[in-house]
C-alpha cells in the first residue's frame, strides 16, 4: 500500500476521484463520436491494398456520379506535406504519387450515409505500378532500388541515424574487469486505447472551420490543419471532446483529421470520420519494432565503466516522432545509473508497414529491457546481488550525466530499498524452486520534454487562464489535454488548493482553441509538471488579489492573512475572516470578473552538441520493480502472480490517479512481455483486431503493491513529477529477469510467448546447463 501519512495540503496528496467521472460512468460525457451536427454526412477512407506502389492514375468519375456522394478526394487536392516534427514533414493527408503501406490512405469520399460511402470507395479505380516491398529494416540500410521516401539517407531507407560518443568507450572496455552483452529483439506493439479515432469537421459560412477530434495534442493538430489546408490558424477552431485514451497514438496530427476537415470544406457539410479498430491498427504510430545490442563494462567492484549501444528501429512508412525515437533509444540509457562513458549508434529505417511513432514510455522501453537484463548478467558474473549492483551505481541527486542531462531530485535509492524489503527479495532471489523466480527491473523517464516541438524556448510550454465572476465558480481554460489520465482533475485540484475553495467551485473547460491558451498537450509526460506549475501561478495570482481585497475589508495588513477553507482570515485569529465569496465580491468592485493567467517555461539546459536537447527534461521519474513469476515448464505458459512497484514521481498529487497510471502501465508493459505483437507476413499485418492482438486479460494481472517513495522535486508543482509513462518501463525487465531466476534463460525476444519459453528451455537443456537442480 502507498504510504498514507497526511501531507501539508488540503486536497493535493489525497485520493481525488476524477471530476468528470460521474459523467463518464453514466454515459453523459461527450466523446467525438457523440458530436452531432445538422446535416452531417459520413467520410470514408480508401486504403491502399498495395504495400508499395506508384499511383499512375486514378479515375473517380464513377464514384463521384453515385447518388449520395458529395465529394471524392485524392492526394493532389491538398498535397502539402506535414508531420509532428517540423524537420520531417513527410506525410500527406492522402497519398501523393505513391502508396507506402497496406492501409495507407489513397482516396476519401463524403456521402450521405455509410453504405453509399463504401460503395463509392469500391468505384474508385487506380492504375498502379507495384514497387519493391521493404518489410525488413535491414534491407533498407544501404541503397535500395526504390527508396520509400526521397529523403532516405543516401538512397537508402534510413530515415535517421544518430551517432554519439561521450568519454572513451573503447578505453573503458579495455580496462574493464567484466563485460556483458545482451541483444534484444522486440516486436512492434500498439497503444490499443479504448476509443478509436474520430473526427468531426464543419466549415461554416462565416469563413471558419471547426474541427472536433480525439487528439492528445490539439495545438499540433491546429498547426497541421492550417499548414495543409492553407487557412490561417485564427480561422480554424479545434475542439477536443473527452478522449478515451491515447498513450501516444493520438499525439501526431493524423491524416484522417485533415481529410475530414478537407471533406467539410469541399462539401460545405459537417463530416464525421469514425474509425474501426482495423483503421486504428493501420494508423498505428505504436512502439517501434526494435533490435538492440547493449554492451556494458564494469570494474571488479561493480562500478559501471561504460555502455556501448546499437539500435535498429523500424519506422514503418512515415517519420512521425522518429527522429526523437532514434535519439531516445540511446540517450534514455543515461539513467538511473552513473555511466561515465557512452557510445551509441541508432538507425531508424522506413519500411512498407504502418508507421511507428510515440507510445507510452517512448524510446525508453525496449532499450531498458536490454540494459536491465544485461545488468543482471553482469551481477551474476560479479557474484553480486542485482540490487547491490544497482545501488552502487545509482545516479546521485543534483548531478549531471556525461551527456549533460541535469538530474535534480531522485529517490531511486529509496525505490530500491523499499521494493527490496517489501518484496522479500533476499529470501526469494535464487531460492525459489525451479519454475518460480523473482526479478528486478528499474527505469527512469523524462518528466516533460524540455524541447517544445514547435516553439522557440522563449515561449511558455503551458498557459492556464482563470476567470471567476459573481457566482463564485472558477472557470479554468487550458489546452492541456485530458485523455483519461486525470489532468482535468489535477488542474481543478491545484486551483482549489491554492484558493482554499471546494473542488466543486472549479470548472475545467473543454479544450477549445478559441478560448483555451496554448498548452502543448499530453505527450512526453509533461502535463502535471508544466500545466501544474502554470495552474499554480495563475491561482496564486488570483489568490493575491482576493487576499488584498480581504485585507481592505478586514482592515488588516495583507501579510497577516492566510487562506483557509472557503475563507480568508487573520492568521491565529479564527474569528477574524471573510468568506471566499465576500472576498471575491470585494475584489470585483474595482474590476468586475477576475481573470488570471499563469504559465510555465522550462529552464535552459543541455549541452551544445548535435542532438543535445533530446532527453533533457526539467525532472526525471525513477522506478524499481520486482516481479514474481511462476512458469509451467511443461507448457511454457507463465503467470506473474505478484509485482511490487516502487516509484518516484516526487509528491503524488492525486494518489488515485497515480496508482491508476502505475497499474495501467504494468498491464501495458505485461502485454508487451507476454503476448502483444503486431505480427506480419512480409508487410501485411496479420492481426489487426483485439481478438488476435493479445492484450492481457484481467486474470493475468498480478497482485500489485505500489510504493510511492518520492521526495518533493524542487521545481515540480507542489513537488510532483510525472507518473504517466515511467511506470511502464520497469515492468518488462522485472519480468524478464524473474524468468531467468525461475528457469535460467534470459529471453531476448519479446513477446515471450509460451512457445518461446519452451524453445529457451530446450536450448538450455541441449547445452546441459542445469538450473536450480533441473
Amino acid at each position: 500500500m502507498p504510504s498514507s501519512e497526511p501531507g501539508p495540503y488540503r486536497l493535493l496528496g489525497g485520493r481525488i476521484p476524477y471530476v468528470e467521472g460521474p459523467l463518464k460512468v453514466t454515459g453523459r460525457a461527450e466523446y467525438t463520436d457523440d458530436i452531432q451536427r445538422p446535416g452531417m454526412i459520413v467520410g470514408r477512407l480508401l486504403r491502399s491494398p498495395w504495400p508499395h506502389a506508384r499511383l499512375l492514375s486514378v479515375d473517380v468519375r464513377e464514384a463521384r456520379a453515385l447518388p449520395g456522394v458529395l465529394a471524392v478526394l485524392t492526394g493532389d487536392r491538398y498535397p502539402t506535406p506535414f508531420g509532428v516534427l517540423p524537420i520531417t514533414h513527410d506525410e500527406t493527408a492522402i497519398a501523393v504519387g505513391k502508396a507506402r503501406y497496406i492501409g495507407d490512405i489513397v482516396a476519401a469520399v463524403a456521402a450521405t450515409d455509410e453504405l453509399t460511402a463504401e460503395k463509392a470507395l469500391s468505384l474508385v479505380r487506380f492504375e498502379v505500378e507495384p514497387l519493391p516491398e521493404y518489410s525488413d529494416p535491414r534491407s533498407g540500410l544501404s541503397k535500395v532500388a526504390e527508396p520509400i521516401h526521397a529523403r532516405g539517407l543516401l538512397g537508402s531507407n534510413i530515415q535517421k541515424e544518430v551517432v554519439q560518443h561521450f568519454g572513451d568507450v573503447d578505453a573503458a572496455f579495455a580496462r574493464a574487469a567484466v563485460t556483458v552483452r545482451f541483444r534484444g529483439r522486440f516486436a512492434g506493439v500498439t497503444h490499443a486505447f479504448t476509443e478509436p479515432m474520430a473526427t468531426v469537421a464543419e466549415a461554416t459560412p462565416d469563413g471558419r472551420l471547426t474541427v472536433w477530434s480525439a487528439t492528445q495534442v490539439p495545438h499540433y493538430l491546429h498547426r497541421a490543419l492550417s499548414e495543409v489546408l492553407e487557412i490561417p490558424m485564427h480561422r480554424i477552431r479545434v475542439i477536443k471532446p473527452e478522449v478515451g485514451g491515447g498513450f501516444g497514438g493520438k499525439s501526431d496530427p493524423l491524416p484522417h483529421e485533415i481529410v475530414c476537415a478537407a471533406l467539410a470544406l469541399e462539401t460545405g457539410r459537417p463530416v464525421k470520420i469514425l474509425f474501426d479498430r482495423e483503421d486504428v491498427f493501420y494508423t498505428n504510430h505504436g512502439r517501434h519494432p526494435t533490435q538492440n545490442d547493449v554492451r556494458i563494462a564494469a570494474d571488479a567492484d561493480g562500478n559501471l565503466l561504460g555502455y556501448d549501444i546499437e539500435a535498429l528501429i523500424e519506422g514503418g512508412a512515415w517519420s512521425s516522432f522518429g527522429t526523437v525515437t532514434t535519439y531516445y533509444n540511446g540517450v534514455l540509457a543515461m539513467g538511473p545509473y552513473r555511466v561515465p562513458n557512452f557510445r551509441y549508434k541508432g538507425q531508424r529505417v522506413y519500411t512498407t508497414k504502418p508507421p511507428s511513432g510515440a507510445m507510452r514510455a517512448h524510446g525508453g522501453t525496449n532499450l531498458r529491457y536490454s540494459i536491465e537484463l544485461a545488468l543482471d548478467a553482469l551481477a551474476e558474473k560479479l557474484g553480486t546481488d542485482p540490487f547491490d549492483l544497482r545501488l552502487r551505481n545509482a545516479l546521485p541527486p543534483n548531478s549531471t550525466t556525461i551527456n549533460q542531462f541535469r538530474i535534480t531530485s531522485t529517490s531511486f535509492v529509496k525505490c530500491l530499498t523499499a521494493v527490496r524489503e517489501r518484496s522479500g527479495w533476499d529470501a526469494k532471489f535464487r531460492r525459489l524452486p525451479y519454475g518460480r523466480g523473482v526479478g528486478l527491473g528499474c527505469g527512469f523517464y523524462i518528466s516533460g520534454s524540455n524541447s517544445p516541438i514547435h516553439f522557440t524556448p522563449k515561449m511558455p510550454q503551458s498557459t492556464v487562464h482563470l476567470k471567476v465572476d459573481m457566482d463564485g465558480g472558477i472557470a479554468v481554460h487550458s489546452m492541456q489535454a485530458d485523455i483519461g489520465q486525470g489532468s482535468n482533475t489535477l488542474l481543478a485540484a491545484i486551483v482549489a488548493e491554492v484558493l482554499g475553495v471546494d473542488l466543486e467551485r472549479v470548472h475545467v473547460q473543454r479544450v477549445d482553441s478559441d478560448v483555451s491558451p496554448v498548452d502543448l498537450g499530453s505527450y512526453s509526460s509533461r502535463v502535471t509538471f508544466m500545466m501544474g506549475n502554470a495552474a499554480r501561478e495563475a491561482a496564486e495570482s488570483l489568490r493575491d488579489r482576493l487576499v488584498a481585497a480581504a485585507a481592505r475589508t478586514l482592515g488588516e495588513p495583507a501579510e497577516t492573512l492566510e487562506v483557509g477553507h472557503e475563507r480568508i482570515g487573520v492568521r491565529g485569529r479564527p474569528d477574524r475572516f471573510v468568506t471566499f465569496l465576500d472576498a471575491l465580491h470585494a475584489a470585483m468592485e474595482t474590476s468586475g470578473a477576475l481573470t488570471a493567467s499563469g504559465s510555465y517555461r522550462s529552464p535552459t539546459m543541455g549541452g551544445t552538441f548535435k542532438g543535445a536537447r533530446a532527453g533533457t527534461a526539467p525532472a526525471y521519474s525513477f522506478a524499481a520493480y520486482v516481479a514474481e513469476v511462476d512458469v509451467d515448464v511443461e507448457t511454457g505458459a507463465y503467470r506473474v502472480p505478484r509485482l511490487w512497484a516502487a516509484f518516484d514521481c516526487g509528491r503524488a498529487l492525486n494518489r488515485l490517479a497515480v496508482e491508476g497510471q502505475i497499474e495501467g502501465s504494468i498491464h501495458m508493459g505485461l502485454g508487451q512481455v507476454m503476448g502483444e505483437s503486431m505480427n506480419y507476413r512480409s508487410s501485411r499485418l496479420l492481426n489487426p483486431s483485439l481478438l488476435e492482438y493479445k492484450i492481457p486479460m484481467p486474470q493475468q494481472m498480478p497482485k500489485v503493491e505500489i510504493l510511492l517513495v518520492g521526495d518533493d522535486d524542487p521545481e515540480g508543482p507542489f513537488g510532483a513529477k510525472e507518473a504517466g509513462e515511467g511506470p511502464l518501463i520497469a515492468t518488462l525487465p522485472a519480468v524478464g529477469n524473474a524468468l531467468y531466476d525461475a528457469v535460467g534463460v534470459r529471453f531476448s525476444e519479446l513477446p515471450i510467448t509460451p512457445d518461446r519459453v519452451l524453445r529457451g528451455l530446450d536450448l538450455r537443456a541441449a547445452e546441459h546447463r542445469p538450473w536450480k537442480g533441473a
Binding site: 491494398p49 493479445k694 486479460m697 509460451p754 512457445d755
Partner: protein, 327 residues
C-alpha cells in the same frame, strides 16, 4: 465495417424452419447467438441475403440432464449447478468458451456448428482483397498451404470434443423428418474447412442428446489458448471414461482446435478397455495422438508448439478428470 442489408425471418416452429430452410437453400444462414456470425458478416465473409433467426422456436430451448436444446444459451447451462456437477467435462468446455458476455448469447448448436477459423479468412473484406482472397471466401487459393485444393481452416468450437467423448447424439430435423445420429457423424471426415458437416439442405440441428454414461465416469476438457478468456481454442482435449487402477471400463478421447474437424480416437482408446490405465499407457496414448494430429500455421501459436501441447494436454486431462455425480 457495416452489415449489409439482409432479410430476417423469425419462424416459431421447427416445421416452419425446415420449410424456410428448404426454400432458401444456399441463400441463408441460421442466426443462433450471432456472436460469431455477425462479426463475420461485418467482414463480408460469405454473407447471405437471408437470416433465419431461431430465437423464437420454443422447441429448441431448454435442457435436462439428457437433452440440450440447440438454442440453449451457454450461460444458462453454466448457471445450472446441478447440470454442472453431473457433466464435469462438458462444464469445463462451456466455461472456457470466449467470455461471459459471449456465453450469454452463444448457444449449444451455434458452438457445435461454429465456422472454422483461419488468419487468412477471419479478416475484413479490405484485408482479404489486398491479399487476393482465399478458397474459403471469394477466392481460389490457400495462403496457409500453397497449392492446397482443400481448406485448412481450424475447427474452433469447444463443446464438440467434450460432447464427443460423452457419446452425444444430435437430433436433426429435415424435409424428410427427424433423425438421430452420433455427434461424430455430424462432421464430415471427407470434408474440409469449408464443407464441415453432413447436414443437407433444409436440415436443422434441434437438440443434443446425452446417453447415460457408465457408473463412475470421469471427464475433463482442457483448452489451450494464449489468454485465459476471450480466445478461441488453439487446442482442445477432452477425455471421458470409467477407470481405476485395475482396469479401464470405458474410455473416449477427442481433440479439437488443431484441425478442420474435431476427432475422436476410438481405435487408440478401445484396446485399452479391460486393461489397467497405467501412466505408461497414458503416455503411449498421448504420444500417438500427438503423432497423428496435423495443425497448420493459421492461428496465433505456431503449429509445432500446438502439436507438442497435444501430448501434455492429454496427460493432464487424464490426471485432472473428475467424476460426475450422476454418471
Amino acid at each position: 465495417m457495416h452489415l449489409d442489408p439482409f432479410e430476417l425471418h423469425r419462424p416459431t416452429t421447427v416445421d416452419e424452419v425446415v420449410r424456410l430452410a428448404t426454400e432458401l437453400a444456399g441463400r441463408f444462414d441460421y442466426l443462433a447467438g450471432g456472436t460469431d456470425l455477425l462479426p463475420n458478416y461485418k467482414m463480408h465473409l460469405n454473407a447471405k441475403p437471408h437470416l433465419v433467426a431461431l430465437e423464437d422456436v420454443r422447441e429448441l430451448r431448454g435442457h435436462s440432464d439428457s437433452r440440450l436444446g440447440a438454442m440453449e444459451r451457454l450461460a444458462d447451462l453454466e448457471a445450472d449447478r446441478t447440470f454442472g456437477r453431473t457433466h464435469p467435462g462438458l462444464t469445463d468446455a462451456i466455461g472456457e468458451v470466449a467470455t461471459p458476455l459471449v456465453r450469454s448469447s452463444g448457444t449449444v448448436g451455434g458452438n457445435l456448428l461454429v465456422d472454422t477459423r483461419c488468419f487468412f479468412f477471419n479478416q475484413s473484406y479490405f484485408w482479404r482483397s489486398s491479399l487476393g482472397f482465399c478458397l474459403k471466401a471469394d477466392g481460389d487459393r490457400c495462403h496457409v498451404v500453397p497449392q492446397a485444393e482443400r481448406c485448412y481452416a481450424t475447427f474452433s468450437g469447444d463443446l464438440a470434443p467434450a460432447l464427443l467423448v460423452l457419446d452425444a447424439e444430435v437430433e436433426v430435423a429435415g424435409p424428410s423428418g427427424r433423425r438421430r445420429l452420433p455427434l461424430g457423424a455430424l462432421y464430415d471426415p471427407g470434408g474440409d474447412g469449408i464443407r464441415r458437416t453432413r447436414l443437407a439442405p433444409g436440415d436443422l440441428l434441434v437438440a443434443v442428446h446425452l446417453p447415460p454414461g457408465p457408473p463412475g465416469r470421469r471427464a475433463r476438457y482442457k483448452k489451450l489458448r494464449v489468454r485465459p478468456s476471450y480466445d478461441f481454442p488453439e487446442l482442445g482435449v477432452a477425455v471421458a471414461g470409467a477407470w481405476d487402477s485395475e482396469r479401464v471400463r470405458s474410455l473416449r478421447l477427442a481433440v479439437g482446435g488443431v484441425e478442420t474437424l474435431p476427432r475422436r480416437f476410438d481405435d487408440l482408446t478401445d484396446p485399452l478397455v479391460g486393461t489397467p490405465l497405467t501412466p505408461e499407457a497414458v503416455n503411449r496414448l498421448a504420444d500417438e495422438v500427438q503423432r497423428r494430429v496435423r495443425p497448420v500455421h493459421n492461428t496465433f501459436l505456431p503449429p509445432d508448439y500446438r502439436r507438442r501441447m497435444v501430448g501434455v494436454y492429454v496427460r493432464r486431462a487424464f490426471a485432472e478428470a473428475r467424476e460426475g455425480s450422476a454418471g
